[in-house]
């Protein structure tokens, strides 16, 4: 399946990319992260401490255990600091 990945704040800076499309068979966000970390040192660094990373699927906050489906937008970012 195909996913659109988007990155923000220091996750974006570490991966050095604002967004990309990936082909993956990962069933969950956690599996997707494992795949990404295996790719490249930049991803490995960005996801080295997953307690500091939040994820949203189709613009809704979700969990690392959440299931993925074709065509989704999956966003990774640090804990939010607005306000």
């Amino acid at each position: 399946m195909r996913l659109n990945l988007v990155y923000f704040a220091w996750v974006r800076e570490r991966i050095d990319l604002p967004s990309e499309t990936v082909e993956t068979d990962a069933k969950t966000v956690a599996e997707l992260i494992t795949e990404l970390r295996a790719r490249d040192a930049r991803y490995d660094l960005a996801f080295s401490d997953t307690t500091a990373v939040r994820v949203a699927i189709n613009q809704e906050l979700c969990e690392f255990s959440s299931a993925l489906a074709d065509g989704q937008e999956v966003a990774f970012f640090p804990p939010m600091t607005g306000g």
Partner: protein
């Protein structure tokens, strides 16, 4: 009930003036976040997740209106680069009575801090740094 995400400054007085026009409102509470100086900070840079930001803010407004007896709510959040003393964002709540207005404004701020997709980067005289989320901000959600 309205949310705005914008680069430009906003006029707090004008926003509150609009909300006062509904004579069912007896209480109006406003929170303004300001770029606070210190540690040689020269500017704050606000990044956000455009596809998600408005819906996240609208969800916070809707939840506040479900919990308290409110007349109107307003959220404005700026993005981009802001100098010391500039306003970052505001939340305003009008209600028949003050307790509802205060509680809803605090609730909206607590959720905005930890649930709306904004990230602050501090620009110092030498170098930059992403602001870390505070444990106390996540903890603040638990009281609601």
């Amino acid at each position: 009930m309205a949310v705005s995400v914008q680069v430009d400054a906003f006029d707090i007085g004008a926003e509150l003036g609009e909300m006062r026009k509904d004579t069912r409102a007896g209480a109006l509470v406003n929170f303004t976040g300001i770029v606070r100086g210190g540690d040689d900070l020269v500017a704050l840079e606000l990044e956000h997740y455009p596809a998600m930001t408005k819906s996240a803010l609208e969800a916070i407004e809707a939840e506040a209106r479900a919990r308290w007896d409110l007349i109107d709510t307003r959220i404005i959040h700026r993005v981009g680069r802001l100098a010391l003393g500039e306003e970052i964002m505001m939340v305003a709540v009008s209600a028949p009575h003050r307790a509802d207005a205060f509680q809803a404004a605090e609730f909206m701020m607590d959720f905005l801090k930890s649930r709306a997709p904004f990230w602050k980067k501090e620009h110092f005289k030498s170098g930059t740094q992403w602001v870390d989320a505070k444990d106390s901000d996540e903890g603040a959600l638990r009281r609601w």
